[in-house]
Symmetry: C3
Subunit: 263 residues, 3 copies
Amino acid sequence: MNKALIRWSAYAALAATLPLAAPAVAQSGSKLDALETRITRLEDMNQIERLQRTYGYFVDKSQWTQLSELFSDDATLEIGGKGLFLGKPRVLEYMQTAFGPDGARENMLANHMQFQSIPDISEDGTTGWIRSRAYVMGGGWGLPLYENAYRKENGVWKISRLTGPFTMYTSAQGWGVNALNNTWPDKFDPPPDLPPSVIYLTYPAYFIIPFHYPNPVTGKPFLPDTDEVGAYAGPPGTAIQREALRTGRMENGTQPIFQPPRN
Amino acid sequence: MNKALIRWSAYAALAATLPLAAPAVAQSGSKLDALETRITRLEDMNQIERLQRTYGYFVDKSQWTQLSELFSDDATLEIGGKGLFLGKPRVLEYMQTAFGPDGARENMLANHMQFQSIPDISEDGTTGWIRSRAYVMGGGWGLPLYENAYRKENGVWKISRLTGPFTMYTSAQGWGVNALNNTWPDKFDPPPDLPPSVIYLTYPAYFIIPFHYPNPVTGKPFLPDTDEVGAYAGPPGTAIQREALRTGRMENGTQPIFQPPRN
Amino acid sequence: MNKALIRWSAYAALAATLPLAAPAVAQSGSKLDALETRITRLEDMNQIERLQRTYGYFVDKSQWTQLSELFSDDATLEIGGKGLFLGKPRVLEYMQTAFGPDGARENMLANHMQFQSIPDISEDGTTGWIRSRAYVMGGGWGLPLYENAYRKENGVWKISRLTGPFTMYTSAQGWGVNALNNTWPDKFDPPPDLPPSVIYLTYPAYFIIPFHYPNPVTGKPFLPDTDEVGAYAGPPGTAIQREALRTGRMENGTQPIFQPPRN
């Protein structure tokens, strides 16, 4: 079992243990302490939402240095199917190499509008998670769905893992006309530190990114469904990719979460 | 006065009684208890927003069983002009009959992106309301505007009423090219338990769904305006529907909220 | 230094002094008082978000009188490049003159969908700020980015400054086909009380509206970058405007914030 797979297993286990409704508070200690903990959780959730929304405003205008400062030193970043980038300096390198130097410029639209966040904070108050979305307007349209993690270091929340597979990606003509597999590891520089942790395809195929939180009413963790989904194996339109559309399921029938094939 | 109308009257009365700014807290009891109540209200608002956003993520991927579990046993659901479905089992039947079995599939995009929520909690802490929106990307575009209700049962919030009339509904070509009346009771199976509680039309006509909350500054409840709006009477393009565009106002001139004509 | 410039200087200074992470609470007073202050800040943030989202719902349906009541008596409003309107009565006059009388009507779509808010409250609890966005669907598409201010008067929050320059504005055909400079002071009636406080252009040029809050991790205020951006000098397509695309920077190289040229 490799590192990336371990990460995702831990992630699935998380959903089963998160508190169901209101955050649990320690039974020990005074009522005042318990209330303070609950207030802190509410503030924490606001803080991690602020990080995620600010990330969006910085992408809009290519503020890469400011953006990289939102990440912890050992953060990981994985956008689309490009693979994993490890550590804050690599986050900055990825952005500046793939999208150009810091600073907005004419003829570029890169709006990353952020919304629909589901924030959670661990019982010890040092880890956070958000499921959320962006609606991207740029050369075309894109819809990343994030499942991110955050860490509180010396009282300050930082992004510790950003994971944003795309639900749909298309040109300015819209998804009624065409839809694209937006990224794969060798599509553009820089190359990732690790291959993608998740193999997925965008619309007209689909991928259900695991939920970090359980069903808010039943408390049951989300189990991905078992329909055919396909997997990334090479650039779209190639024979290997056509074949991959019929393969790639886990033994238990759920969607694949493992190392992609290396060509 | 039928049941559906009673529901909407109660709804309008609500807006007049909601607390104006910060939630009111009981004057009796200790300051500590009062603070706890305020914290609980903030947590409650987060919880009902979580339900609404999770509903969106489940619709995206046809997770109908999981979605139905977000509802109370006696919940009502009313989407577009399709009519009222009564009870959790009917919520599930509606989804699975109208949109297919549980599970995402290829060539289907059903993104229900949720945002702009205005949550409120009753003084006794057991009822909640949200006004919010979805931006739907699927076969085309759609813009439902929700006014939903939530109930806390044994410490767990559930959706007790989902009401989502569409502001605009169009094909993939966009609202600059065409706009459609998206649903009416007999458009697709299953038939509803009750006809629509609200008669409304989508763009290029309009409907102002009553606000559950008063103006946040003046505290005055919202009164719908009195311009011509038309009403649903039959499928778009029929003679009866063209006639209905000029009719359908309440005696007091406000937009109609009553049983639709049955053809 | 004129009034408008003074406003923006104060605004930049603000970002340098806002508390970094959780809102600071007075060290004096009991722990209970400190907790109450933190709860009040959370409620305050909810209230100013409610104002902003309600503003959006009112614009949707031309509820101009209700909308104007969300503003303080001395509020300022500045949308696009139209200039500054001073005071609540002028907010109402602007809306009713530019967009017609109160009330929705057929064939009009003016959805102002609000999201991605970053709320902040001053330490004394009487001033608030939000950075947020709207996604406008009407005759075409538009993307305002707000940096607004709010004031608590007798326990009730009101909008005290609304500032919404457009990132992008286009026809129903979309930004892949065309993009427009949406407003300038003399484009439509009524004329503003003051010229625009900010000179900016929309896509395919750009403008970075200053952030009211510092980087959430480093605490450093945002400094606009120094690339060429151009300035508003006259209607798009005129010789004076083409020339202006190469001018208009402050001495320190940042984007211009000053009185526009008067033709």
